[in-house]
């Protein structure tokens, strides 16, 4: 009722009391005022600095930012390093590691998360206890995960040493010290941390599936396997997409895990592009090269996210 009254007053200005008009205008503007600071902060500190980074990548910035544009030398150097495979250049190592890590991390997390969720969804006793046990690794920071797994995987301290003491002396597991396998230890630690969270996402999705559909399928004589293969998993498609996005950005930004777990690996063999970026920008005073690598990382993310956003937005035209 009150809104009708206000609009009536608006329509008849000669009766309008200035107070009401100010108030209604304020009410109209309030959401914008409240959102403005965070909007401004996002514009400056996210998009502004993205543009700044892109600008820097075309300069000759070394220790400090320089604003003289000098062309695409930083990109040319990165491009050259991309094909330096023997011995592998740091950039080549970083991007191949990104491929290995990104693919395995996302694939294993999705598979393991779904598997655990399906098992937990069998109306078992003690679900309330089991669920948080799987979920809790996500509450740890990458640094803690990294250090814990570093000790566990270290042949002189952790698993190998323990099994040797128990008598299994032929046991050998030194991936974390091996330049060819160290990236897989990063996958192990990463999967351990994130798969519980993915499980929780899938579990929520499973709980959201209409029981009637399942019953109908069972009456039609579908086996459990068919039930999941043909009905449940296809219905979980939106969860797959969300989980994929969460995992993809975790994979691309997992700098700290590499540092804590491997401190870069033997001869820098565990670097990811984020390590490369930090190392070149802040330690080697090659800010232009660091910025260029950051821009390439951003492009990679954009290449993944934009098609996703596009498909999501198209599905709900309204």
């Amino acid at each position: 009722m009150s809104t009708v009254a206000t609009s009536q007053i608006k329509l008849t200005p000669e009766h309008a009391r200035p107070r009401a008009s100010v108030r209604s205008r304020l009410q109209d503007a309030l959401p914008k005022i409240v959102l403005a600071p965070s909007f401004a902060i996002t514009i400056v500190f996210v998009y502004g600095f993205i543009l700044w980074t892109i600008y820097l990548s075309f300069t000759n910035s070394k220790t400090f930012p320089s604003y003289v544009l000098t062309g695409s030398r930083a990109y040319q150097r990165l491009w050259g390093w991309t094909f330096d495979t023997d011995p592998p250049s740091s950039w080549y190592t970083s991007i191949t590691n990104m491929g290995i890590f990104g693919f395995l991390y996302i694939a294993i997390c999705l598979a393991l998360g779904l598997f655990l969720a399906i098992l937990l969804d069998q109306k078992i006793r003690g679900e309330g206890v089991l669920r948080p046990i799987y979920l809790y690794p996500m509450a740890l920071s990458f640094i803690v995960t990294g250090v814990a797994w570093k000790w566990f995987l270290d042949p002189g301290l952790g698993l190998e040493q323990t099994l040797h003491q128990w008598g299994w002396t032929s046991f050998h597991f030194d991936w974390i010290k091996n330049k060819d396998f160290v990236i897989y230890t990063v996958v192990i630690a990463g999967v351990w941390q994130a798969s519980g969270f993915i499980m929780a996402m899938f579990l929520a999705g499973l709980r959201g599936i209409d029981g009637e559909i399942m019953k109908a399928a069972q009456i039609d004589g579908a086996t459990t396997f068919q039930l999941y293969r043909r009905i449940v998993i296809p219905l979980l498609r939106p969860i797959f997409l969300s989980a994929f996005i969460v995992l993809a950005h975790l994979a691309i930004k997992s700098y700290d895990l590499v540092v804590a777990l491997t401190s870069g690996g033997p001869g820098g063999s565990a670097w990811l592009p984020s390590n490369f970026m930090y190392e070149y920008t802040f330690k080697r005073n090659e800010m232009a090269v660091g910025s260029a690598s950051a821009v390439i990382m951003l492009m990679t993310i954009v290449a993944i996210i934009v098609p996703y956003l596009y498909s999501e937005l198209r599905e709900k035209p309204r």
């Binding site: 220790t63 400090f64 011995p87 592998p88 042949p155 870069g264 033997p266 080697r284």
Partner: protein, 417 residues
């Protein structure tokens, strides 16, 4: 209401202005000496300044290490908010000086006679364009062997004088079932050891040409190839678990007697001291075989920023206190390094410290004091890190032969120059 507020604000800012007109009796210091012995050593400086009425204020750094501190410094300087001084290493000082943000301590330097007492090689980093911009705190040297004496006695070894002696000694340790060489497989530790190997293999002239002047012919030479071969030989004496190990854990292996020797800078002595070991009876410090008479150094500096006039007096007090003989002695006794001026009496130092001081003096006079490339005193960070990459890739097998290593080294250094 609003008027009251305005008047209040004006008064407060007026007060603040009045306070600024006088000298600020405070030293704002950015550093990462926060652990045990180093923090204790720094307390000496805090005490000296307190006596003159200057308060000490640490600039907080999240994360602790030197990298985090340098990132914080970059942000502070970019914002125009300079600390009084900051702990800095090598080329960083020169980078900031080139950016025009460093202060000028030449007057104080003249009065205190730094020109004569600080080794010329160090002045390359503390003097920019004829102006003193930093106060060196200490000199570390990296061409040291740290040996567990009990283990050495057990295997019947003696001080190795040449590289071949050293290899023979390592063989003896291996035969006795001890880990011969304690090494942490991180790129800076491998490169630090390689600094010594190059000096030992090629001699002082060669080291200077290759790693300070970055002379192409020397970097490409057979001597460099031989150096890589010698490094490869040393790496055969480390335990299989070395990769990624922190330097202090490697030192601990020597302290405990699990390993015979570590090649490391003299900061390793701090670990021996902390474990209550005495030089000469529990452990021995020898120069890396074949490098006696030369010193490969790195040094901690306090870079002095171009602060506003009201903070300059505090800065001068800090710089004077830093290079005072009493502080240089007290600090370096604890830190394991040697004083940054050659006229400090060595009475308070242990045997290793005394040798370090004498060596530094001789090397300074003989022109055999060289910056460590691995520690960032031989060339700018881009080159130094490219060098560490190559050495580390060679140690860990991405680069397979010494021929390839030399080619890669030249390529990497050219690329980074």
């Amino acid at each position: 209401m609003l008027r009251k507020l305005l008047i209040g604000t004006a008064l407060a800012s007026g007060l603040a202005f009045a306070a600024h007109a006088e000298d600020v009796k405070e030293v704002q210091m950015l550093h990462w000496w926060t652990s045990g012995g180093e923090a204790a050593a720094l307390n000496v400086l805090k005490g000296d300044l307190a006596k003159e009425g200057y308060a000490w204020k640490d600039v907080p750094v999240a994360g602790g290490g030197g990298d985090a501190a340098m990132t914080a410094l970059k942000a502070m300087v970019a914002a125009g908010n300079y600390p009084t001084a900051s702990q800095m290493l090598g080329y960083t000082v020169l980078d900031y000086a080139a950016a025009g943000v460093m202060g000028d301590l030449t007057e104080t330097a003249k009065k205190e006679g730094w020109d004569k007492s600080v080794p010329a090689a160090l002045q390359k980093f503390s003097v920019y364009d004829g102006k003193w911009v930093a106060a060196p705190v200490n000199v570390h040297s990296v061409n040291w062997l740290w040996i567990n004496k009990a283990v050495l006695d057990k295997i019947g070894g003696t001080e190795p004088k040449t590289f071949d002696d050293f290899v023979a000694l390592l063989d003896k340790a291996k035969a006795a079932g001890v880990i011969p060489l304690a090494l942490g497989g991180q790129n800076w530790q491998e490169a630090t050891m390689f600094d010594s190997v190059v000096l030992s293999t090629g001699g002082p002239e060669f080291y200077k040409k290759a790693f300070n002047d970055l002379d192409d012919a020397s970097l490409k030479s057979d001597t460099m190839k031989k150096s890589f071969d010698n490094l490869a030989k040393l790496v055969t004496y480390v335990d299989p678990n070395f990769s990624g190990r922190d330097w202090n854990l490697a030192t601990a292996m020597v302290i405990k007697g699990d390993a015979l020797v570590q090649v490391m800078g003299d900061w390793a002595k701090g670990e021996f001291n902390a474990a209550k070991k005495t030089p000469g009876t529990d452990f021995l410090c020898y120069r890396f075989p074949g490098t006696d008479g030369s010193v490969i150094y790195n040094s901690d500096m306090f870079g002095m920023f171009n602060v506003p006039d009201d903070r300059k007096a505090a800065q001068v007090a800090l710089a004077t206190a830093t290079l005072s003989k009493s502080f240089q002695s007290a600090f370096n006794v604890v830190k394991g390094s040697v004083p940054a001026r050659t006229d400090v009496p060595d009475t308070d130092f242990d045997a290793c410290g005394k040798k370090g001081i004498a060596d530094l003096k001789a090397a300074n006079e003989g022109g055999t004091l060289f910056g460590s490339l691995a520690q960032g005193y031989g060339a700018p960070p881009a080159v130094a890190n490219a060098y560490k990459d190559v050495v580390s890739k060679f140690v860990h097998g991405q680069i397979k032969t010494s021929d390839e290593a030399v080619t890669e080294l030249v390529k990497a250094i050219d690329d980074a120059k």
